[in-house]
């Protein structure tokens, strides 16, 4: 009885709960930075820890210790709440992702819908945060963030529904189980996987879709007024979003964890890193698109392709 409770506490706080997720988030940031740096013929983080692996943690603590400014004109309550909410919302869906074994920490029928809902909420929070800062660049950035959401949200959700249809369940764990018994979804739904990858790049606001931040155009966009602790939390939330995106790709399309307990963790991490590598690789290969390019592209190509994928699944009955 008591030992079971301790076991649950360990699961929530150590593994695969908070401690593991935080380490994974920091590690992923390091991985991303290092990969992109190698693509750009640079070294990337080098000094803190072996090969600079502790650099993201150092950056996080440095930002925490910096002066935290709230502009006088800002709408104070949403401005202060936004980073905290963003971080919370970024961590929450990760508990539904199966990391070791085929069950997530929290798993129920319909958790995929919850994940989609939370991802939409995060995009809205970005809009609110930029708007509440009342900076001119922030306002433009948040308008762009809202427009961007209209572009990628529908194809992203459609392409996430694809695996759910073929598995006949709206639970991420069930989808993973179905793939273990059948085939990986990426083999039968390659178009859906491609659409999801592109949409996740837009959701994460990474080059070529870093339009709402666009440092060289609008000086950081919605992020411009955030500093110190708020910025640290937002950056950490971005890392968690990156973890979530790679995990979603890995578990919905690549079969997620597989095998007995420690082997399943290794397979999960391998697939996770592969997806993170794909996302990082794409980041290094493009110039930034304009918001109108993204909107026309998303509605002309991504949405029809995602719809086509869903139709094909229904037609083939798989």
């Amino acid at each position: 009885m008591v030992s079971e409770e301790i076991w649950i506490l360990i699961e929530i706080f150590l593994f695969p709960g908070f401690l593991f997720l935080f380490s994974l988030a920091f590690f992923t940031e390091w991985f991303d930075r290092k990969i992109v740096a190698r693509f750009q013929n640079r070294y990337g983080p080098l000094h803190v820890g072996p090969k600079g692996i502790l650099q993201p943690i150092a950056d996080f603590f440095k930002l925490l210790s910096k002066e935290d400014i709230t502009p006088r004109a800002a709408d104070k309550v949403p401005f202060r709440l936004m980073p905290i909410l963003l971080l919370t919302l970024a961590i929450a869906p990760l508990f539904c992702i199966p990391i070791m074994g085929s069950n997530g920490l929290i798993s129920f029928e319909g958790d995929l819908v919850l994940i989609m809902f939370i991802m939409s909420l995060m995009a809205l929070l970005v809009f609110i945060g930029g708007w509440a800062s009342t900076n001119r660049f922030g306002t433009i950035g948040s308008i762009r963030a809202g427009l961007q959401m209209f572009a990628y949200e529908i194809p992203m959700n459609l392409s996430m529904i694809g695996p759910a249809i073929s598995a006949g369940s709206l639970s991420v764990s069930k989808i993973v189980e179905w793939q273990i018994n059948g085939v990986w979804n990426v083999l039968i739904q390659p178009v859906g996987f491609a659409v999801l990858t592109i949409c996740l790049m837009a959701h994460l606001q990474r080059i070529p879709f870093d339009i709402p931040e666009a440092e060289s155009e609008i000086v950081g966009g919605w992020l411009v007024e955030f500093s110190g602790k708020k910025l640290a939390l937002i950056r950490l939330a971005n890392d968690f979003e990156f973890v979530l995106a790679s995990s979603l790709m890995a578990s919905l399309f690549l079969g997620g964890p597989y095998g007995p307990w420690y082997i399943s963790l290794i397979t999960y991490l391998a697939k996770f890193l592969l997806c993170a590598f794909i996302l990082s690789n794409l980041r290094a290969a493009f110039a930034r698109y304009r918001i109108d390019h993204l909107l026309t592209g998303a509605w002309k190509y991504l949405t029809p392709l995602a719809l086509l994928q869903v139709c094909l699944i229904k037609a083939w009955g798989i």
Binding site: R136, I211, E217, V219, F286, A287, Y289, R290, H293
Partner: protein, 392 residues
Amino acid sequence: MTFEIPFGPQHPALEEPINFMFKIEEERVIDVKTRLGYVHRGIEKIAESRNYQQLVYLSERICGICSFAHTLCYSQTVEELLGLEVPERAKFIRTILAEMERIQNHYLWLGLTAKEMGFETLFMYAWRDRETIIEMLDMISGKRVNYGVNTIGGVRRDIAESTIERIEKSLEYLEKRAEHYTRVCTKDPSILKRTVGVGILRPREARALCAVGPTARASGIARDVRADEPYAAYGEIPFKVVTYRGCDVASRMYVRIDEIKESIRIIRYALKKMPEGPIRVKVPTRVPEGEAVSRVEAPRGENLHFLKSNGSDKPERWKIRAPTLANLLSLCRMLIGVNLADVPVVIAGIDPCIACAERVALIDAKTKRREIWDGKDLWRYANEWYRRKYGF
């Protein structure tokens, strides 16, 4: 919804302080006002208290990137006043260094423009390759930025036989890279999307607004001082003036990449045909009374120096017209109707160098009368202002 968006004087996309006030309607620029004057250094005024030899060093510091073009232009002006003939070998060395500077500048520009487009990888690659040419300049002159090679009556440093081989080797590498960038910039869809049809400057407008350098050449106007009025050794070297007819940022990019290749050809030819002989002649410290103008094709466009001497060892007036100043008018034309997202790319398109362009000019807002003040006027105005304000 109409917004007013300030762009600069401090902005991540601008290395130098200039202020643009954009009126934005749904991300589209409908009006733009520029404001200069943040880095006015009074170089022309300082010049009146220095002698001609010292001014070589001052002219080198007008601009960090086209430092050689400015010293070349200045030296040519003084040489013209003195009626001096520069040794042939010096002329060839000047040509070689001027072209090396052009390559260096164009790689820098390519990187910066890529950064404005949000293409970090191309930025890193272009700047890595720029390092090669900077090392060559370092090897010849001993410095990476302000080379200190030009002087009145020739050059201070010779290009040794032993270095030529290394220069050839690095030129080969740079040519290969330039080919690669041509391929990337004509094929990559994300670059094409951001540059083709952006920041249009029609040939008629370019001519009317006196655009210079690559900006004019990208609008199909074959305007190049090297060909129109050859100086240094350009008269003896065959080369073609690169022009494109696209009138947009993409054309400005292709013009510059092709100019890199053309410069490499010029350097190769000059290294082969360089005559033996002295590299400088002795010059007197005093310059006879007179006026002279010299034009040089700097990497960014036409560079103009005017010098008026009064027979002493100091000039009476030295006027510099850097290419950025000539291109600012065209820039304001290009910016109207552009999407806000394209503003940095368009501004970068003319390769602005603000510090070169700063002059004091006062414009009366009511009468639109423009007057130029010199130091005496400023001094008088400052005194009056304080007298009025504090009753001194």
